[in-house]
């Protein structure tokens, strides 16, 4: 069945009420029946929930084959916890037919690819899928199609019971003996634990894995002891150097800076750019540099930013400390400046992924967002964005909060160079639609700016501010004129990943890639 972004969704996936994507806000006003976990009562006072090893924790939680384990990715490319747990489950306890429900998976989780190839792990639900896991899933090695969701789509699916977590694992930089967790105060700090919050509340069992046990009560707690079954203390939960980079620096690349300046100009031309406006930006070169130019426009107009959300790193913390933004609230911290600021700098708070981006609650933060600045691997002439699959069709990315912020914000700006190496970023059809074009308003490239024709109001703003803009078709033609038009990818029939829109409908599917023959 063809959906609203023109993708053919196989009918066999449309069962149990599953629908194809119908356009943004299709589910508005509908009801959701939330599920509740079945959890054990610890009525009698306990001295401690500490167990000796991960294997002991798995045994205590009744781990068995066929279960779903959840993980969160705050330790990013430094994460050891998902690998340790899966190794214990598969190698030591001999479990199989497992499903991993992770907020994201990266190259740090490469060892898990082996369990997929062996058929021990048969299901994956994640936002990000990269490295060896992306390769084996693209080759059709996972028994069931992986389900890719946005950061807002995941808590929605958990609350709706579409994914039932048997055991959630919380990688905690600090925990006390009963499981109050924080992202700071230890040796592997990550700051916010926002993505772990929904998991902890909706899982039947919750295991905290920490490398820094602190005195009770570890407060204010990000994940509370009332949801925790067991605490395991290990030598190390992750590699600090890969968890949070040193301060993210604003690019000096003139191309990034030019695009960033144009992003700021577009923002400043709209009526939403007024005192108290709200903002989110990414950490890529031009996205992050937008902070710098935006600050200049704010100074010039003598206005302040009301609040910022994200993924947060140093430059936004700097703005907070300078008093140029009222509040910074985040689900994740990307560098040490942000890690050391959250819940420390006045005005810098933590929030859950549901509060951040869930489309099925009563109004997430993204719905109040004025501007979001996002990157893209590809964007097509209908403004559909791909941030999941590479030009070779292999899974190597993450929707993250991209579709959520794009749909919720008043003005969504995609910033990307027109070409990367010899690939056209602006193209006729993206490999996979991860953010639908009806959510994307403006495209800023190094070769020009294009506005979605769905937004004549923004076109007028740019014209009034004398900001030149062109059609997205002309940008595509320019890109093809430089690097040529690529051949279409060739696919097998079987679906290796289902890309869910944030509202739970099916936006696109990724099929197995057919090996290239010369």
């Amino acid at each position: 069945m063809i959906n609203a972004v023109g993708r053919d969704i196989p009918n066999y996936l449309l069962k149990d009420g599953k629908e194809v994507y119908q356009g943004k806000f299709y589910m508005d006003g509908k009801y959701i029946q939330k599920v509740a976990p079945k959890t054990v009562r610890y009525e009698k006072p306990q001295e401690s929930k500490i167990v000796a090893t991960i294997v002991d924790a798995l045994k205590q939680c009744g781990a068995k084959s066929g279960m779903t384990f959840s993980f969160h990715h705050h330790l990013r490319n430094g994460d050891y916890v998902a690998n340790m747990v899966m190794e214990a489950a598969v190698r030591e306890l001999g479990l199989c037919d497992l499903t991993i429900a992770a907020t994201s998976l990266g190259e740090a989780n490469d060892p898990i690819a082996e369990y997929i190839e062996e058929g021990k792990v048969i299901g994956l639900q994640t936002s990000g899928i990269r490295g060896k896991i992306g390769d084996v899933v693209s080759k059709g090695k996972l028994k069931t199609p992986a389900i890719i969701r946005s950061h807002g789509g995941r808590p929605r699916a958990i609350e709706a019971g579409e994914v039932h977590i048997d055991i959630a694992f919380v990688a905690a930089p600090t925990s006390d003996c009963v499981g109050n967790c924080r992202g700071i105060g230890g040796k592997s700090n990550c700051g916010s634990l926002g993505y772990a919050m929904t998991d902890a509340r909706y899982a039947d069992k919750v295991v905290v894995v920490t490398d820094c046990l602190v005195d009770f009560p570890n407060y204010p707690a990000s994940v509370e002891a009332i949801d925790v079954d067991a605490v395991v203390v290990v030598d190390s939960i992750g590699n600090p150097a890969k968890i949070a980079s040193a301060a993210a620096r604003i690019s000096k690349n003139p191309r990034d800076l030019m695009m960033a300046e144009n992003v700021a100009k577009v923002i400043a031309s709209t009526p939403y750019f007024k005192d108290g406006f709200s903002f989110q930006t990414g950490v890529g070169g031009p996205s992050l540099a937008a902070n710098l130019f935006l600050e200049r426009f704010m100074d010039k107009r003598n206005i302040k930013m009301g609040w910022a959300i994200g993924g947060i790193c140093g430059p936004m913390v700097e703005l907070l400390k300078k008093g140029k933004v009222g509040k910074v609230i985040d689900v994740q911290d990307f560098d040490l400046d942000a890690v050391n600021s959250i819940n420390q700098t006045p005005g810098h708070f933590e929030m859950s992924a549901s509060q951040y981006a869930n489309p099925a609650n009563k109004g997430a933060f993204v719905n109040k967002l004025d501007f979001v600045v996002l990157a893209a691997l590809e964007i097509d002439t209908n403004f559909n964005v791909n941030v999941l699959t590479g030009s070779d069709g292999v899974l190597r990315g993450a929707p993250g909060g991209h579709p959520d912020t794009a749909a919720g914000s008043k003005c969504c700006i995609i910033v990307t160079p027109l070409i990367r190496g010899r690939m056209a970023t602006v193209c006729e059809h993206v490999v996979t639609v991860t953010t639908p074009g009806d959510c994307v308003d403006v495209l800023v490239t190094d070769y020009g700016i294009a506005v979605n024709p769905l937004r004549p109001d923004i076109i007028e703003c740019l014209d009034n501010a004398h900001i030149p803009h062109v059609s997205i078709e002309s940008l595509k033609e320019k890109a093809y004129s430089i690097v040529g038009r690529p051949d279409d990818l060739e696919w097998e029939d079987n679906v290796v990943a289902v890309l869910e829109a944030r509202d739970g409908t099916i936006l696109d599917v990724v099929r197995q890639i057919r090996p290239y023959k010369v």
Partner: protein, 304 residues
Amino acid sequence: MIPRPRPRRFRLRRTMMFMNAQKPGLIKDAYIYGCDSIMLDLEDAVAENQKDAARFSLYHALKTIDYGNTEVIVRINGLDTPHWQEDIRVCVAGGADGIRIAKCESAQDVITVENAVLAAEKEFGVEEGRTLLMAALESPKGIINAYEICTASKRMFGVAISGGDFRRCMGTHFQRDGVDLLVARGQMLIAARAAGIQCFDTVFTDLDDDEGFEAELLQNKAMGFDGKSLINPKQIRPVHDLLAPTEKEVLWAKKVVEAYREQSAAGVGVFTVDGKMIDIAFIPGAERTLRLAKACGMYDGDLV
């Protein structure tokens, strides 16, 4: 093959950005930054044993990249080197808009280059007189002979001072107040204006000194320069911003040109605008202001 329109001798040239003609990553799309002219360098940026490779890179860039409205100038090697003749053949064959003569010291230098350019135009079937020239004055002799250089050829559209070499010749170095180049800049400006061609200031090399750059720009503007040579895209915006006319200036220029067109159609030569006497002498200045305003996105009328 990208056919370029016939170069215009007089056009807006606020910013001329230098880049090594041998660096594909730089030259493939340098126009995106919005400078008025790009200056592809075959001279100092290219190592002695790479001159030939740089010419090939330059030729293919000129033939395959669509630089659009951005002017494409090439800085050739000095007349005291074995490279300049071949440089000129490549520029003309590739269809560059103009050539910057390095270390120009006399009218004869301009004539020597012009003869070689004409020969190349004939050789490659390029329209004769198409290729423009500008001269870089880099020595005291060049400054002394500025006027004869400026008037040496109909192809000449401007002169520029090259601060590094000139300071070396004079035994001085960069001064924040510009006193090191003050006389040379002044003499070159006077010569260029007397000859009716454009005049460009030297590069500012400290990319981290935003204040110093701005101070130099303000002095350039006060002295009457048309534009400046640049070494990095980040320098473009400040030049365009500082050289932009004020809104008041644009409004005034618009009134003057409109009134002039009206009055001259009615056979009146001298008239007043807002109580000020205006005659034909004011018109080129007012039109220049409007052209500048148009380039800066401050004016979109059809008077210029």
